[in-house]
Every structure is written in C-alpha cells, then in structure tokens.
C-alpha cells in the first residue's frame, strides 16, 4: 500500500511537471510543480532506500492543506501492531 501511494504521488508529480513531453518539442515548462506537502512527505517515508538520491524541491510549489489538521499524519504515526 505504501509503495502504491508513493508511486501514485510520484506519477502525479511527473504529470503536473509535464515530464512526459519531449524537451525538444516545446519550451521547458517554467511554472513550479504544485504538490500536496503531506502527500510528498508520506511518499518519502514510504521509499527510504539507501541507494536513492534526494528529491529536488527547488522547482516544487508545496501546497499546505493540512496546517490545521492534527490527524494528517495519523497513518504514518500509528502504533506498531
């Protein structure tokens, strides 16, 4: 489930950034990618392989939808069963 979530978020980010187009076909998209910060964090928590590089964030515009939601991370903080 965690990896599915990560994959969905990663794919969403790619779609938003227009990365499936050819760089040779059109000018590079300048608008920053908009990503839900909570989803981004959960995606990182789900993919902690030691061989990965960090995710660049300078071209990412984070949307903070959970600033007033104390339960936003309940699923990742749930007690071990």
């Amino acid at each position: 489930m965690r990896y599915l979530l990560a994959t969905i978020i990663s794919l969403s980010a790619l779609v938003l950034s227009g990365c499936f187009g050819s760089d040779n076909d059109r000018p590079r998209q300048q608008a920053p990618v908009a990503i839900n910060y909570t989803a981004f964090v959960k995606a990182q928590l789900a993919t902690s392989g030691d061989t990965r590089d960090p995710v660049p964030i300078n071209d990412t515009r984070f949307i903070f939808r959970d600033l007033n939601n104390p339960n936003a991370y309940d699923d990742v903080l749930a007690a071990e069963k």
């Binding site: 990182q44 993919t47 902690s48 990965r52 960090p54 995710v55 990742v76 071990e80 069963k81």
Partner: protein, 506 residues
C-alpha cells in the same frame, strides 16, 4: 613520489603555508541550518600518515561530530543520530568524486532499567545506575553500537561491504559511554581502550583499526575573541591568549587504514567527511514510552524517511566557517566536491583579508588569489596534487611522505618545515588557525615550493608574485600543546570527565 630531500630546501626557502583560505573555528556550528542539528554537525576532519610507533604505512582518518560538548552534559550526554549516516570519502584519482567511502551508522539500545519502588518496578531516568567497566556494563541503561560499511564507487550506488572485527566476522562495534565522571567510570582511558577494534577491511590484505566515541576537543582556537571582530593582536606572540574550547569534548569517528588500500595509481589521496539524514521527518505528538504509560508500542518521537540527504560537509578546516559567504553556507554543506566550481569566487576573491584591512588597516593581497586556488582547490604540484585533478575542496594527503614522530612535529606543518603536517593532510597538533590566517594575508603569493612550475607553482595574488605583508605569522594567540594529545590511535585525548569525584574526595 617526492622524497623529503626534494621538499626540505623548499621549506627553508619559502616556508610555504599551504592552507585553506579561511580561519577560526574549523567547522563548529558554522552554517545556519546545521546549528539546529548538532548530532550531525561535522566539526573537524583529520587525515595523516599514522605516527604511532610501529604503524608506518597506515593512514589515520578522524571525523569529529557534535561540537562544544560540556563534559557535565547529563543526563543524556552526547549520543549520535541513529537515523543518520556519517561518512568519510576518499578520492584517489583526482576527479573530485569518491572512490571509497566508509559509512558509519549508529544504533542505540535502551535497556529500560528499573528499580523497585514500593513493590512497583519503575524505570529510572538515568543512562547508568552504577559503575561501568569495559568488562561489565550491567548498570548501563543506554548502549550505542555502530557498523562501518565500505562503499566502493558512488557513495549511494557503489558496492557495499562490511568492516568486521578481525578474526570474528562480527560487523557490530560497541561505542563507549561518554565520560560521565570518575564515579561512573574510574579509569576512562583504560575503559575506552576496550573499544578500539582491529578490523578486517574488504579488499585489503592488512587489518585496520576503528574507534568511535567521545574525546577531548583537539581543535585549538581563541574562539570568542576571533568572532568579536578579531579582538586580538594578530601579530603578537602565538601563545598570548588562551584556547577557549580546551574544556570541551567532541565525538570522534576514527579509522586507521593501510595506505595501500586507500591510494590509486598515485600516493596522493583527497578526503572529506559528510553526514546525511533522511529527507522527510514527521514529529510524533504521542511518542513511544514504557509500559508504565501504556505506550510501549507507539512509534518514536519522530518518523523519518526518504533518501539520505547531506547536511554537513567538511574537508579542509575552516572553509565553510569563514571562506564561504553566509548565504551559501547551507548550500556548501549539501554540496559535493565535484560541483565546487560554484564556490570559486569565495576563493579567488576572499572576503576575510578585506575584513582584516577594514579592521586593522593591513592591505589585502590583490586578487584573483591564484595562490589560494592552488592550495585550496587543486593541491600543490609535486606535493598534494594528483597528475590530473578537478578543482575541488578537500583535504589532500601525500601518503608517500613519511610521518614525523610525535615528539618532533611542528605545529605550523609545512610552514614550519614539517612536510608531514597541514596542508599535507592534517594532524591534531597542526595549528590550522595560525597557518590559515597567515596564508589569507598573502604569505603564499608567488611561492615556489619545489620548482615544479616556472615562477612558482603556488600562483600569484593578482599582479603580486611575491609574498606580501612581510611574511608575518598571523595568529590568534592560542597555541596547541603536544601534551594534550595521545601519541597513539585514536590520537585525540581522553575526554574530560563530567565530574571528578575521585579527585574531589581526596
């Protein structure tokens, strides 16, 4: 390989100071972001040919972390970060990328020792509840251990193999308890010796040694006055002031490796240390506790995940401290040597001499500072420069230059005619503050170390092709004392005790 005979005349002629371009507090709390993460704040990096008797042919690497420890800092003292990786990188072909990485990872075990209170077992608040020795740690409530992996190739995607205890194959090493005080650990030096391990290093025919634990701070600096607008007499006696951090401890990751297992086709290697943490963190509002609070199954105080992301970097001393400008310090800590071209302006046009000119009226050497580019980014031809080199900041060591015995070392390193010292690597005794201050003020301009290049291989300062400012030894007034260091691995001194109860009782 250069012989000592080749080098010594140059030392007498030029007394060349081959230094990084800055000064002051090596790398303690040097960048805004890292001040909030002391457990992964690299403070000093040492790399030298081992000078312990009988250890010829070995190189010692020491990466220090967790700055300015007051020995009495209980009850938790100074554990390292289990969720971080601490790395020492070696470039042995001059391309500014690591060929070998030694990766330290720590693990903290909590025993949850409890005492009976009125028939109820209650967890104690301390990390030890009795005396601890190297042979008996039953009273120790918190234990740290670590592994060391050797990565060949890229630090993230290269081939990973474990260092193991020689003869046993065990890859887990224990870290000693910090020096809480003499009642907890009555002979800390003897206690800590139990945690020096002979190790089998992958692809290396000879064993090495490893130690990770608390040491007395080995860096020497007149820290407070230096940062108070250089409120000292920089041309006064080298011992006119005091080493203000002499009462601090530090945590050292020390590794001794046969030189032949580090070098490539040349005897020169470059080294630097980094620390990395997971990219994402979620703070847990209800962290794990004990059965007492019914929370033993909860997660820890923070849940971390994502790729390891570098937050600290240190090669030559003092670079990020006073060479890199404030807006770029965090960026430097996250950078890799292969990308150092972005920081070149800080070397060619250093701000420190300009500040000294403002404060003291001492004319800054002309720019561009080609002298500092040589010693800072490429190494000195014939000494610490590989045949092909990508300009990059790291500590460079010629393993072919024999170590100087402990009793004969000169704390000005190459500047004092001791070619086994900084900036040919760096030893604990090397007074890098004085060396760097002197270099920044133009001691090196146009210097000729060994005739490797016409007109001097160090390089000019703008149009100035000779030493400027009279070749004065500029200093901070704090002088290293050889008695404050060990003459054997791990070389940095036994840490100061948090309490000296035995002495107090006498």
């Amino acid at each position: 390989m250069l012989s000592r005979l080749t080098l010594l005349p140059a030392a007498c002629a030029a007394a060349t100071l081959l230094a990084s371009a800055g000064t002051m507090a090596s790398s303690h709390r040097e960048a805004p972001f890292i001040t909030g993460m002391p457990k992964v704040d690299g403070t000093d990096f040492y790399m030298f040919n081992s000078y312990e008797s009988g250890r010829e042919g070995y190189v010692t690497l020491i990466a220090n972390y967790l700055p300015l420890q007051d020995a009495y800092g209980g009850p938790n003292y100074f554990s390292l970060d289990d969720d971080a990786i601490y790395e020492i990188h070696i470039d042995n072909d001059g391309n500014a990328e690591e060929n070998i990485t030694f990766r330290f990872q720590f693990n903290t075990e909590r025993r949850d020792l409890a005492v009976d209170v009125g028939g109820t077992s209650v967890p104690v608040p301390l990390i030890n509840i009795g005396a601890v020795t190297g042979q008996n740690n039953d009273a120790q409530n918190v234990l740290e251990s670590f592994t060391v992996e050797m990565v060949t190739g890229d630090r993230r995607t290269g081939n990973v193999q474990n260092l193991t205890k020689a003869g046993s194959g065990d890859s887990s090493f224990a870290k000693p308890l910090d020096n809480i005080g003499t009642k907890s650990i009555d002979d800390y030096e003897a206690y800590a010796d139990n945690f020096i391990y002979d190790v089998t290093i992958p692809d290396c025919p000879m064993p090495g040694r490893v130690f990770a634990g608390q040491r007395q701070e080995g860096f020497v600096v007149n820290l407070g006055e230096v940062f108070d607008l250089v409120a000292l007499n920089p041309l006064g006696a080298r011992d006119s002031r005091r080493n203000i951090i002499a009462d601090k401890n530090i945590t050292s990751l020390a590794l001794e490796v046969p030189a032949d297992c580090l070098t490539g086709e040349n005897t020169v290697i470059g080294g630097w240390t980094t620390a990395s943490v997971r990219q994402a963190t979620v703070i847990n509002p209800a962290p794990q506790g004990s059965e007492t609070t019914g929370s033993s199954n909860a997660k820890g105080p923070a849940v971390k995940g994502g790729a390891f992301t570098q937050v600290s970097r240190l090669g030559s001393p003092l670079v990020n401290e006073v060479v890199i400008g404030l807006p770029d310090k965090d960026r430097f800590n996250s950078s890799e040597p292969k990308d150092d071209g972005q920081f070149a302006t800080y070397v060619t046009n250093p701000s420190l001499p300009a500040l000294v000119e403002i404060l003291f009226g001492v004319p800054a050497p002309e720019t561009p500072r080609n002298d500092l580019v040589t010693v800072f980014l490429t190494g000195v031809p014939g000494v610490t420069q590989l045949p092909t080199v990508t300009a990059s900041e790291m500590l460079r060591l010629n393993t072919g230059i024999p170590a100087t015995a402990a009793g004969g070392q000169n704390d000005l390193g190459v500047a004092g005619g001791d070619f086994a010292g900084f900036p040919n690597g760096r030893r604990p005794i090397d007074d890098v503050v004085d060396i760097a201050l002197t270099a920044a003020e133009g001691f090196l301009c146009g210097a000729d170390v060994n005739g490797e290049a016409a007109g001097g291989e160090i390089g000019s300062c703008g149009t100035q092709e000779m030493q400027v400012n009279g070749g004065a030894i500029v200093n901070d007034g704090a002088l290293p004392n050889a008695a404050d260091y060990l003459t054997r691995f791990p070389y940095l001194n036994t840490p100061l005790p948090g309490a000296d109860n035995v002495a107090a009782a006498e």
